[in-house]
Symmetry: D2
Subunit: 360 residues, 4 copies
């Protein structure tokens, strides 16, 4: 822990890698020399790669992030420079190159990542004790182990239901205690982290908050497991850098969630579930990867097939919205499964898991 804290002090600890400066075609020898000089003046040794029409210059030094940024700005503005190439991923702690073993996070006996397959189920919002207890009972009976429910709801419109706030957290906690299910709920700002952390087992950071950096930092400091949803327009590197914010606070308990990216076509689904992000992420990071087919499609009837596909492509679990009575849901009713649909999905996934050697 001490070393991690220390690490925060010296920003710029990502893996050092060569930087490549690509010169324009026909760049003058003088321009090339000036670039080489600029590199040398900062204490690095340039390596010129001649080409027939174009020259590239490598900087084989160990640059940290700030040095890299500095050098890029300086060289990028010099005459004759065409572009500067990154040769490194910008994240480190999240990288599988940093940690080759899958991270497994254990919460109240439930293991997330590292070979298990978890199911997180429950309604979009905690609406009342009755509604939530009913949902939890179905989740429990299905064999799923994690109970979701929103108390603070990020809603596109200020006129939509905004959640029960702390009252919702209290319901969540008591239902979690009664059923023995692990609980997860969203926190929307850094100053609410300690409050939400009092009541729930896993802190969820929503897709729209993926780059809420003060929130990421507070979630990191809390030490609680953090369930981080990919922003709808976030590239993989940005997603892992968001995780890096949490990890960089000394909190290694980060769970990633693919939940759909902005769609090409909004006619039939709300988002496009990017399933190939699962093997991509599993290759580049050691963190667990969960898929949310409910937000990923926005349509209840597509949830089950996409949930099964998530298992097949190697996800560590799924998060699925289920409501005792979707038609009366105060939010996202159109994507919530009914209890029967949820139980059927669980049964089908168990069959599929059996064929794949996955227990759930």
């Amino acid at each position: 822990m001490t070393s991690r804290k220390g690490r925060k002090g010296d920003r710029g600890v990502i893996f050092a890698s060569p930087m490549i400066i690509v010169m324009q075609i026909g760049a003058a020898q003088e321009e090339i020399d000036l670039v080489a000089d600029a590199i040398r003046s900062r204490g690095y040794e340039p390596l010129v790669l001649p080409g027939q029409d174009r020259v590239a210059i490598g900087v084989p030094a160990s640059l940290n992030n700030d040095q890299r940024t500095d050098l890029e700005a300086v060289l990028g503005a010099m005459d004759g420079v065409s572009k500067i190439t990154q040769t490194s991923h910008p994240y480190k702690l999240a990288s599988r190159e940093f940690n080759r073993t899958d991270t497994s996070i254990e919460v109240k006996g439930v293991k997330i990542g590292g070979g298990s397959f978890v199911v997180m189920g429950g309604p979009c919002s905690v609406e009342s004790y009755e509604q939530f207890h009913k949902a939890a009972t179905i989740v429990k009976s299905s064999g799923a182990t994690i109970l979701r429910g929103g108390a603070f709801k990020p809603r596109t419109s200020p006129y939509s239901f905004q959640g029960l706030a702390e009252e919702g957290l209290k319901i969540l906690k008591s239902v979690g205690d009664e059923t023995g299910l692990v609980t997860i709920s969203e926190v929307m700002s850094g100053d609410m982290v300690s409050l939400v952390a009092e009541y729930v087992d896993i802190l969820q950071i929503g897709a729209r908050s993926m780059q809420n950096f003060p929130l990421l930092i507070e979630a990191g400091k809390s030490g609680k497991p953090v369930f981080l949803k990919r922003g709808p327009a976030a590239q993989i590197d940005d997603f892992l850098l968001a995780a890096e914010y949490v990890l960089n606070q000394g909190n290694p308990h980060v769970i990633l969630c693919e939940r759909g990216i902005i769609p090409l076509d909004r006619t039939y689904t709300r988002n496009t579930l990017d399933l190939s992000a699962v093997p991509v992420l599993k290759e580049h990071t050691h963190l667990p990867v969960i898929v949310d087919p409910s937000h990923g499609t926005g349509v209840a009837k597509y949830v089950t097939p996409m949930a099964k596909a998530a298992m097949v492509v190697g996800a560590d679990g799924i998060m699925v919205e289920m409501h005792p009575d979707p038609k009366s849901a105060l939010s996202d009713g159109s994507q919530a499964l009914t209890p029967d649909q949820f139980l059927k999905m669980m049964s089908e996934m168990r069959t599929l898991g059996a064929a794949l050697g996955i227990v759930l």
Copy 2:
């Protein structure tokens, strides 16, 4: 067949549905009246829906496509009109509402659609008899039934390998004959349809040609099975309208292929395979739906998981690139499976299929 030909004559035969004209908030009564009059003057009876702040007007008549287009243009330019709402899908022959039974296309004893699961395998390009024959032997031995190989290659750069042209088709045909595999190859323009149709069993229309309308029409006229790839930026309705061009020529043998849409993030994959398009398409059309995880990801190591996911979400088959020696491939080597990888994928898919009750 006669009736279909007849149908071509009277453009505008899509399902007639009400049209809704939404007025602006605070539209004057006079503006509302003028819109109603314009509707009446064309022989339809307007139905005004009052709202507290805004009025909508329905046109409950049986408009064909041209009448609809005409009316939209006229009303859309009138004062006080906010927008006009389509209440109908723009395609008909491709629609499941038109034909509730799954279309099944039989080619040389191989059934595509209607319950079977087919595998189309082979190299991106036909490069030589030896290369192609070797590939075909592996495809055959794996149990796959359809052999792919490009003779005319659409390449982004004019300096890239453009295919062997008719020479490639000859190789394709003789290897198809020798192995008994059904063959498929791309045709890039309408005037080449008859040539390609001489040699291959299934005409492929590539993603970049999805809206090459003269080609779609010629492919329709040929009567041959047409394998239509979704354009990388095509919405579902545009994709089905492209199919409609073929169907509208009286050729019911259209196979749809999801092959990846333009990606949010080009760092790790070439495209984003839109797997939820499979259940969406299966719901809205009766045509078979194939998934191409090779182009869909552009990366060999992601092909097998995404191929399995395609099966799980309900696709009627997959098209996968395999090359006897991907490192020497003249095109798309980075996404081609090796023979060993292909055979392993087939074995895994067979196991998965067994669990799902799917024979391949």
Copy 3:
């Protein structure tokens, strides 16, 4: 103010408009009747629009937002229903239909919106008193009236420069006081609003925070002018709904900023500046619209032409990054203008403005 507070109480006050339920082709009469009954049972009178192949049903009642949501969920799940159509914009206070006069916000004698054209200039980050004072002097001498500078920086990587925090705000305030320029700086979370509001004239909410709802609410409560940047993947309606969060707190001083959306092609620009959003916004909202060509392109050499284009399409001003020495900038150096470039841009814009009758 009282009435606005009252308005907050009764969520769901957007303009009431008819809702249209589109039935499936071939929906049974019984299904149509059941939908009509469900509507009637909630106290609204359904209006059935017959079509040849398909029926639509209008609900001509005055639904508020929660009633609409409820009805949609209920009807959307009924047999025979194909889709439900929104006929209204979801925002109200931001709407030009609500307020036909352009909103003009006056800050220390500088008018934003309502006919003027303002220029906001300054460095990405406040780095030191010297750097910032130098920048401010150039801004002042150019005739621009608003000074920008970040103290809290949202950075994709935790290893990048994060800003000088309160120390930066102090520099900002004293330089603002010395030069008489209006100041603007970003606030990243709701609990920091009061701190930042102490030091700056205009609160900036960054693109990544556009849907940080707790922040929007606190910014609304502060009563300070709020400069709201469009999220890189935000649709126009979502953007205006984010503004609605601020307005709904009784704070009418909202300034919108188009700053580039996620690009199709990241090779040459960092974002795609969506200039047609300016006339679209000016048509649908009364709020001032500013364009940020610095983030909008991410490349210094494209800033001036795009700034001029912003003026031509009707923006109320621009925000442009300028650094006394871009090569040494701690953040975003590649998109900052040099002082000379900034002065040249101002001169060119003044010439252009003269031709268009715009004073700046």
Copy 4:
């Protein structure tokens, strides 16, 4: 001309530039050596750039496109390789690095590119002699010099108006002759190039045909000026490579057209006009760049502001749809200007041009 023909023979003549192979972090020395050996075995000399955590290897040789593709495939599949970096633009003849002087194309005395500003106006479709002649008269009287009109229409739906075909071309030609306007019309397939070329002065290749390679090649062979529209999902490099297909046939008369890319938000505009593509293109290619604000927005009222913005950012001209009576237009009526709007736009652009020193 001979040399160009010769050039077609040896594919792979793009500018040779170094290739950079980035190794994985912690790649074994043996893996690095094997990559270096593979490079050496192909006759190139590897240059190893050491880094603290990661090594990069440069290939400073003069690779043509096929050699590059080959090497990439081989090395990309080797153990320890993380990625391979392109340091070169893939186009040559279209590149400003190849030809530093702006290309200017003269058609019947009208100069396109090289300093002039041209306006192309006319209806989406040629509908009749009367309609088209009326439109041409307005175009002529406005001072615009190029007359557009579609005879072969690419339509998303087979049920939409498909154009008058050769009949339309005849009308186009006679009206062009009568008015002395330069004419432009779309050709949709390679086998129609010679027919269309008989009647019109400039061949238009539509956005959906941007990668119709047989068409590009035939248009190249024709020697006629080719007006190439950017595909709605085309990246800049792909656009220039499409131009390269035409240029590579020895036809230097290529005019580029930005006409809007796929939108993030389809609610208010049909496409997103990517105006920063204009300065990007002007920097990287010597070919003229025209902007089409009609398709670029899809909405008549946004055409004039975006047309002016196109002039301001440096376009060489605009293409604008105008119809004598938009309400009766058989296609795209909602984006066509009325004659009055067109004349007003021309007058405003002339004023704007005067301020910018641009004559039109």
